[in-house]
């Protein structure tokens, strides 16, 4: 009962912040918009008989190319969920931060972090449940008669679930890391860069193959399937490694939050 109330409060918090809405918009509308662009490019290339211009004639692969945007959305939601607690108010309005209100409303800190984690999971899974089917449907519609679907229904379902798991774990790690930093800025920049522009983890693999055990690379095959960079862990052990990272980070975050003065 207490957890349900806490989760409901956390969901309400996230949905009434511009940053939270932006995270959802990036993941949902961003992914769908990118899919429309990719699918139009694919259709043009296939219609003009130049399939070599595009990565795949499969609508599923075309839609899945937008997956990194969902990861960015999950990062934003995870970071905002706790980072917003520490945002200082404008000095004219007396300064102050929301964390005091949050902790007086929910003094059990582990319960609070759990509520935030559940809220992030619900939001990310909800986003995936809408975004993935819509993106794939849109890609099918646009590529239309030129499509050559190479991905079976069973494989598509597994990869959608894998992708959802990857987003979810990423969002939870963002939550845990931001709990430790108590500020949204640095985790937001580092995690978004790592997940979209430059993968620091991938660069690290050039130095040591141990980098394949880093959470983002370990979970990579959850949605990219098999045709990706060589080396690293398979999908299932990779998922376990990524999940272990997530649990470990959440445990550390919980232990620190519990002991720390607000």
């Amino acid at each position: 009962m207490r957890l349900i109330r806490a989760v409901s409060a956390e969901l309400s918090k996230c949905l009434t912040l511009p940053g939270g809405r932006a995270g959802i918009a990036v993941a949902m509308l961003g992914s769908i918009a990118l899919t429309v662009l990719n699918a139009m490019t694919a259709r043009r290339a296939l219609a003009s008989g130049q399939p070599e211009l595009i990565a795949s004639a499969s609508p599923f692969e075309t839609a899945f190319a937008a997956m990194p945007l969902g990861t960015v959305g999950a990062v934003v939601l995870g970071v905002i969920a706790i980072g917003s607690e520490y945002t200082p108010n404008s000095p004219d309005a007396g300064g102050g931060r929301q964390i005091g209100t949050t902790l007086t409303a929910l003094p059990q800190r582990i319960g609070l972090l759990s509520a935030k984690a559940v809220a992030v999971v619900l939001l990310v899974v909800g986003i995936a449940a809408v975004t993935l089917p819509v993106s794939i449907g849109v890609a099918r519609l646009i590529v239309g008669e030129f499509a050559v679907e190479s991905v079976s229904v069973a494989e598509a379902v597994v990869r959608c679930l894998g992708g959802t798991l990857y987003w979810t774990l990423t969002g939870l790690m963002a939550l845990a890391i931001t709990t430790l930093t108590r500020s949204a800025t640095v985790p937001l920049i580092v995690l978004i860069m790592n997940n979209s522009l430059v993968s620091f983890s991938l660069l690290l693999t050039n130095l040591t193959s141990l980098a394949h055990w880093l959470p983002d690379l370990a979970g990579r095959r959850l949605f990219t399937g098999i045709d990706t960079v060589d080396g690293g862990l398979d999908a299932v052990p990779g998922a376990w490694v990524m999940a272990a990272w997530t649990v470990a980070l959440l445990l550390v975050a919980g232990a620190v939050l519990r002991r720390r003065d607000a």
């Binding site: 207490r2 009434t16 309005a93 102050g96 929301q98």
Partner: protein, 235 residues
């Protein structure tokens, strides 16, 4: 009822609170007075579970704050201005606070009206003035119809009309049997309101008791305050 005993808080080698103890009784307004940095906020933050004590205890209604199942229904507090995120509206802020403690949604409009923010309920908190932020903080404190009110510098930023209004509100709360504990560094603002006085200086309680007892032998509360806190400072 608030019961604080032997509270100790250290920041590194510095002792912020040195065996602080006092009580705040139902039906009375207790003013917690002291210069800035004397330990008022530290004490109140420990009382509502924001900070950890290194010794002693602070109880509300006989229990530690963290043991209260829906704390906002027992204790309403305001410690850090509005305590709201600047990008949220006042209404959205109160809505999540209400949900977190299972408080009915009808209370939101009631407390907004009570603190005079109804017309600004849909404005972002970042656009508020200091006084409006204080009023929102107070609205959140009143949301759960708590028996106990804990307010850190509640008259900060309020205009004379606002100060008059908050005095009436706190007096009414105590007269209805509630417990009110408020901190202040402004003697004149609390002199006409407080029933009991607790004075702190340098992390130690230097005087506590009914207003007339604490001020007896001095011209007024301000006089008593400086005599008692200066004595502590020169120790």
């Amino acid at each position: 009822m608030i019961d604080i005993e032997q509270l100790v808080k250290r920041h590194g080698a510095r002792t912020v609170l040195d065996r602080v103890g006092f009580q705040a009784a139902p039906g009375r307004v207790t003013a917690f007075l002291g210069p800035n940095g004397a330990g008022k906020s530290s004490t109140l933050r420990i009382l509502v579970g924001l900070d950890r004590a290194d010794g002693g205890h602070a109880l509300v209604a006989g229990r530690r704050y963290s043991e209260l199942a829906a704390p906002l229904r027992t204790v309403g507090s305001m410690l850090d201005g509005s305590g709201a995120h600047r990008s949220r509206t006042a209404r959205a802020h109160l809505a999540w606070v209400a949900r977190s403690n299972g408080i009915g949604g009808h209370r939101i409009a009631e407390v907004l009206d009570r603190v005079g923010l109804t017309d600004h309920a849909r404005a972002r908190v970042g656009s508020y003035s200091l006084g409006m932020g204080q009023r929102l903080g107070l609205a959140a404190a009143l949301l759960g119809e708590p028996e106990v009110l804990v307010l850190d510098e509640p008259v900060n930023g309020l205009d004379p009309e606002g100060i008059r209004w908050i005095r009436g509100l706190l007096r009414g709360h105590a007269d209805a049997g509630g417990t009110v504990l408020l901190s202040s560094h402004l003697m004149s603002e609390v002199a006409g309101l407080a029933d009991d006085i607790v004075m702190i200086a340098g992390g130690r309680i230097v005087a506590s008791g009914p207003l007339d007892e604490v001020t007896s032998g001095y011209a007024d509360l301000e006089d008593a305050f400086f005599a008692l806190t200066d004595a502590e400072a020169s120790r």
